[in-house]
Symmetry: C2
Subunit: 249 residues, 2 copies
DNA sequence: ACAATAGTGTCTTTGAGACACTATTGA
DNA sequence: TCAATAGTGTCTCAAAGACACTATTGT
């Protein structure tokens, strides 16, 4: 490594090599929920330049003594009033194209979060500053700020893929839910319809996915449906393969 | 956000809020290859504190105008003489625990890379500074520097998972290879044995995985085996499920 | 009675795994 | 001839998808 003309004061820490150039690090969240029978993403309106007035993913800068996931949860609370930790939170990817922020070098660690609407009311700051946007059409026509459109796309693809082999879909559900409600969530995330009968058999036959409560509800109309809770399965056996991922015709 | 007692000179860029504290950002690589019938990871010996003399993953700090993957490839060339871009390179995850580096706040973006041994000779710097270590036992007993042991574990798990539904296994192979050579790679990464006959049927029957050349080799002994090239399939249909991931007995 | 939804049974097809069998080389 | 590996065929079982059928509610 050759030496670089950077003031020594810029070094992040005395122990590090002097030619290390610190970089601003942020976190951004793709927080998804189901609302009005639509898959929605939480967006905030930018109040400052750049991209002032445009919609963006919630996020902000990491503090010196804070872990990355911790920063994500804090920013969520600060910007949108969502105080509770989302039912599911995982690191998505890190975006570091040199010109992704016109202000300078900002690298962002994106997180994917899933929560039922009841846990993410969006009531903290003023209502105009944050909203749930249906993912179909989120950010059109001007598009989201920075590279957030791409981050949202990656988050959606991650969610679709994870639905196949994990039980994260239940993160969208209230504590007790019916099979039909879970199926609707799969349909919204994957797009298209799933056969209610085969879905029921698969989901109740997969070990650790659902725990029956013995109680029933008629809130969906028709014959009473049993209520279930999330099981403890991390991965699903067998997996729930999405019909769109079929090989040939 | 409350204001913090940080000199303004520390801010990464004039356009950013003054209370943004820049962080040192590095990249680290989990570069895997197959050597002497073993799955190996590339390690470098640290020449400076902290962890001086300990083995670590190759990596280094990101430069101001450089993309993350670009930094990973550059560090690989600088530290180990591996000049060619690995056959497969993907972002793994970002590690940012506040105390992961005793020198100060250093967040690292880890990459997973796969390459055939012929493309990664490890000849750049002196031989004592970098080596191929079998992943079984890499870093024992003192363990790898920093949190690199955990990063290596995550990288291996990612590789194992990706072998199921993608064709990345061919990234370990020379341009032309036999089904038996590919099978051996699956066995090394997953551990355990795979039935040669069923493996052959699966792998040749999966669209886009392998392209037959029409030429044959006897380098593995026995009846001549056909040589194949990588196909263009991104994802595999059907997937190659690992036997260890079985549900019950 | 009827519409609506829950849940079960049954058939077909696909693919995984076990393993017998044939094919083609070198020693 | 024999050992070794390549490659095919066949059987069984598990699971997906299609869809008929029964069950239980509200209106």
């Amino acid at each position: 490594m050759r030496s670089r003309s950077v003031p020594a004061a810029v070094a992040a820490s005395p122990g590090l090599p002097v030619d290390v150039v610190p970089i601003a690090l942020s976190v951004d969240l793709v927080l998804l929920t189901v609302r009005d029978d639509q898959l929605c993403v939480l967006l905030v309106r930018r109040g400052i330049e750049p991209f002032r007035g445009r919609w963006a993913l919630p996020g902000g800068f990491v503090r010196p003594q804070e872990d990355l996931a911790e920063a994500a949860v804090r920013e969520l609370a600060e910007e949108t009033g969502v105080r509770r930790r989302p039912a599911h939170l995982e690191q998505l990817a890190t975006y570091g194209a040199p010109a992704r922020d016109p202000r300078g070098r900002v690298v962002t660690v994106a997180f994917l979060a899933l929560a039922p609407l009841s846990q993410a009311p969006v009531a903290g700051t003023d209502a105009a500053a944050s909203r749930w946007a249906p993912v179909a059409g989120a950010g059109d026509p001007p598009g989201l700020a920075f590279d957030h459109q791409a981050i949202l796309g990656d988050g959606l693809e991650r969610a679709r893929a994870k639905f196949e082999y994990s039980a994260v879909a239940t993160a969208f559900c209230e504590p007790e839910f019916t099979v039909a409600e879970l199926r609707r969530i799969y349909e919204l995330v994957w797009g298209g319809r799933l056969d209610p009968r085969n879905f029921h058999r698969k989901v109740t036959g997969t070990a650790g996915f659902l725990v029956p409560t013995g109680r029933f509800t008629t809130r969906d109309g028709g014959r009473p449906a049993e209520l279930y809770r999330r099981g403890d399965a991390g991965v699903l056996h067998p997996a729930m393969l999405r019909p769109t991922a079929r090989p040939n015709p």
